[in-house]
């Protein structure tokens, strides 16, 4: 039966493929017209990519601004020394005070 199987494969390989009906392409096109349009190819330029990310970028930027304002407000309320205070202190301790020259 092993040889019969080999013979079957060899003979079946030679079977001619059937031809589609003459109006096959038209039938496919008819079916395709009822389908929604295929999605466009993916955007490849940097601007296209940024445009695709636009809502997310806006959201991330707004979150960062809100966090910065909240942090500033919190630090001010806690009476922690500000950056300006530190600068004045350093200036007063400077070795060559401009007034001494």
């Amino acid at each position: 039966m092993k040889n019969k199987l080999k013979q079957l494969f060899a003979a079946a390989r030679n079977e001619a493929a059937p031809l589609p009906s003459p109006d096959f392409a038209a039938a496919v096109l008819h079916a395709v017209r009822r389908e929604p349009a295929p999605p466009a190819a993916e955007a490849s330029s940097l601007f296209d990519q940024l445009n695709l990310l636009f809502p997310r970028v806006v959201l991330a930027a707004a979150t960062i601004i809100v966090l910065c304002v909240a942090a500033d407000f919190g630090l001010t309320s806690a009476n922690l020394p500000e950056l300006g205070d530190g600068a004045a202190q350093v200036s007063s301790q400077w070795l060559f005070n401009p007034g001494d020259l």
């Binding site: 079957l8 493929a17 392409a25 295929p38």
Partner: protein, 187 residues
């Protein structure tokens, strides 16, 4: 005649009617693939239409690195595999199919040198292959009838080479068994 890349570009740009030209170019290949899995002309045509519709829906995913013919053949095989899975569930109760007299005579005879025509051979194989799982059937069809390499089959099915070899070996053993039963049954 412009090549597939230009045609695809026009279709993507909105020239839907040009898809008919793409179908005309590749329909023979699709029918040749599907013919190995479905012998009924009406069902085969339905599967071919389904294949081209799937291609239309996934057109944006075709990157043009491989020829369009390879891509559409892969879609046709997947469509055939899905079809075989559905058929397997439906055909479980169906008994032995009617085979032509020539095919039966050849099967019954012990003479392994006698010739068999392609159509009868395909009929017998089609009947015997019903005993295989859909995936085994795709593997053995690709290997023995389409002449694909193990690597090509593995790539098409998303399986390892070892898995394909095991499936092919198992499929051959089952086919031999099915032919023996068929020969005994039809006596």
């Amino acid at each position: 005649m412009s090549d597939d890349a230009e045609l695809l570009q026009r279709i993507r740009a909105g020239a839907t009617d040009e898809f008919a030209e793409l179908v005309r170019r590749h329909q023979s290949r699709v029918f040749a693939v599907l013919h190995r899995y479905e012998r009924d002309p009406q069902r085969r045509e339905d599967l071919a239409q389904e294949t081209f519709l799937k291609a239309w829906r996934a057109l944006a995913q075709f990157d043009g690195r491989a020829p369009f013919e390879h891509w559409i053949s892969r879609i046709a095989r997947r469509t055939a595999l899905d079809h075989l899975r559905k058929e397997k569930r439906r055909n479980n109760e169906i008994g032995f199919a009617e085979l032509g007299e020539d095919a039966l005579d050849w099967l019954r005879t012990g003479d392994e040198k006698s010739e068999l025509d392609a159509r009868s051979a395909a009929e017998i194989l089609g009947r015997a292959m019903r005993e295989l799982s859909p995936a085994d059937r795709v593997v053995i069809t690709m290997q023995e009838l389409e002449g694909c390499s193990i690597r090509e089959i593995a790539a098409a099915l998303g399986a390892s080479g070892v898995a394909v070899r095991v499936r092919a070996m198992r499929a051959r053993a089952k086919l031999k068994q099915a032919l023996e039963i068929l020969a005994e049954h039809e006596k």
